[in-house]
Amino acid sequence: MTRLVLSGNYAQSYAARLARVQVISAYPITPQTTIVEQLAKFVSSGELPAQFIKVESEHSALQVCVSAAALGARTYTATSSQGLLLMHELLHWASGMRTPIVMGVVSRSVGPPWSLDADHTDTMSQRDTGWVQIYPESNQEVLDSVLEAFRLAEDLAIRLPVMVAEDAFYLSHTVEPVEVPSQAQVDAFLPPRVPKGTLVPGKATRLGSYVGPADYVRFRREQARAMERVPETLAAIEEDYGRRMGRTYGGLVQEYRTEGADAVLLTMGTASTTARAVVDELRSEGKRVGLARIRVFRPFPAKEVRDLASRVDRLGVMDRSWTFGQMGSAATEVAAAIQSSPRRPRLSSFLAGVGGRDVGTALLREMFRDLLSKEPSGLRWLDMDPPKEVPLHG
């Protein structure tokens, strides 16, 4: 174990190196670039004996990974925003072919208008493509999640691709101390991939062929079952990781001071850190509030959310994107999860931090104030005023 000062992007690169990835393929896009630049250095220096295929598009990057994984290689790619959207078709191929690809995504807004900042529109718009989605909160968690992601993706009961999505700039380009496990520790945690259902040279093997309706629905059901097994499998993987490395993240949903709470806010990614501080402030002021961080969005932690709903009267969900539904994407999922709950708390959907607007303590206090008010809002876009200071380019 070494302590290094790493950005979230470098945490991705170090984790991929420690995982001994065999094939990397990527196309540059801001703010993902430093992930692949660092990997290129690792490969060039010989520290990472991998094939790094530099392609002409993200679509090709993911196809390289799909085809390489189809032969049994451990593969990694990274992208962001428009790049993830260009991959859309291949995201379905990767999951439908049950290829255990791990992808780092730097969550960034989607154009137009052009914007490079933190926003979950890119990953949220790909939530229905059959990938597991993990949203870390810190650079440490980025590194740990990528290592867990390989083990989860390659588990023979799962065999699904995994994205580890980190907020643009807040994680991708901000440095903080990160405990980097030793190669021996990672090797013990993550053995080489055991190929199953792969192409075998010299044998009549086939991946991706057409099927009739009866087989199609059967394959989809198998894929759905694999997704259903993720919570239990990930819990076991996390336990093992915790035993070896001394860190865990509480499974799919990480609760904070939810005991006896009147209102709980659900967040994802970096906003959770600020929200935790706000919960402490409000608790010290005698307000009974708590936080629940959705760490894994796919599969959606419906069981955990129902359990939370059985204890709390008011739930608020902060979404860092707008996907043109009835509420924010996460809020919609929460609504569906509590639909079958014996107790249904009042649900509020807050849109904040969209397009990279800062989610500060005042904004989070406003969400809690709204939640605790006599008539909480249903759906609310927060922080719509222009910034008070004059922007330099204005």
């Binding site: 094939v23 010299g202 062929s209």
Partner: protein, 296 residues
């Protein structure tokens, strides 16, 4: 009786589901005789998706991966990367894509694979239209050909634009080896397949693969029409190795293009004057090809 010069190994199973007289079926069969049993094949959405049959059967005695239509170049880069990473460098990697999947939607991916110097053989089987979806025009459909999206009706005379020069595009990337092949000339086909298999680096085949339902001819005429394509100068057979071009089927006097055009329903509307225009164009391009061959 002529001596059988093709290896007896059959890596395409007899139970494939190609149409009678299918040129692309012959193309895969001859190709794999040349590249051998240690070949992995990547096939995008195309006729061969269907010819290779659906789950749980497969028509090849080899590994085959299906991909979306535009992804062949990237797929074969990925296959080669995995084989290198897994220390299986003896395996041949073949991308086997249709003309639409290559000259139109797959051009970027093909260009990327050539530029990356991927050690793989990209085969474009050219039946000159989107045949699997029902005969829509592609960038590789010849000028004047009827397709369902280039009808012959009123003033419309079939496709109004010339065929895309894929060999020109590929050669601009300087592959280690590129060749034109024709399923109607299997010995030439096999020799080129064996040669390609002996080389390392990016390689490209442009294979003429006549399509009876798409070109509108009887299914027992595939080889006859394929031969006419080459012998009229419409589809000359040549190879380019390290930049040096060599015509592999020498022709003295070209046969009249009329012989090729008149036997296909897709050209049935062409007038004598229109056929004469094609004749002139073919004469000129054949002369240009011989000039390129003569260059030192």
């Amino acid at each position: 009786m002529a001596k059988l010069t093709l290896p007896p190994v059959e890596l395409v199973r007899s139970g494939h589901s190609a149409c009678p007289g299918c040129g692309p079926a012959l193309a895969m069969r001859y190709l794999l005789k040349g590249t051998g049993e240690r070949t992995v094949v990547s096939v995008p959405a195309s006729c061969w998706t269907i010819i290779a049959t659906g789950y749980p059967t497969t028509a090849l005695r080899l590994p085959m991966i299906d991909t979306p239509i535009e992804a062949t170049g990237a797929s074969i880069s990925g296959l080669r990367a995995a084989l290198d990473a897994l220390h299986m460098s003896d395996v041949q990697v073949v991308g086997f894509a249709g003309d639409g999947g290559t000259v139109d939607i797959g051009l970027q991916s093909l260009s990327g694979m050539l530029e990356r110097r991927t050690d793989a053989l990209y085969v474009m089987y050219d039946n000159e239209a989107y045949m699997n979806t029902g005969i829509q025009r592609s960038g590789s459909t010849p000028e004047g050909a009827w397709t369902t999206t280039t009808p012959v009706e009123g003033m419309a005379r079939g496709k109004g634009e010339p065929k895309k020069d894929i060999m020109g595009i590929v050669l601009a990337h300087h592959p280690v080896y590129a060749a034109t092949l024709n399923v109607a000339y299997p010995e030439d086909f096999l020799r080129k397949a064996q040669k390609a298999a002996s080389l390392k680096g990016p390689r490209f085949f442009h294979v003429l693969a006549p399509c009876p339902p798409g070109w509108k001819f009887a299914s027992d005429q595939t080889v006859q029409i394929g031969r006419l394509a080459t012998d009229t100068g419409i589809f000359p057979l040549y190879e380019v190795e390290n930049g040096k071009l060599r015509v592999t089927r020498k022709l003295g006097q070209l046969k009249p293009v009329r012989d090729y055009i008149k036997v296909q329903g897709r050209f049935g509307h062409l007038t004598d004057a229109e056929i004469d225009t094609v004749e002139h164009e073919v004469q000129a391009s054949w002369a240009a090809l011989l000039q390129r061959e003569a260059r030192p």
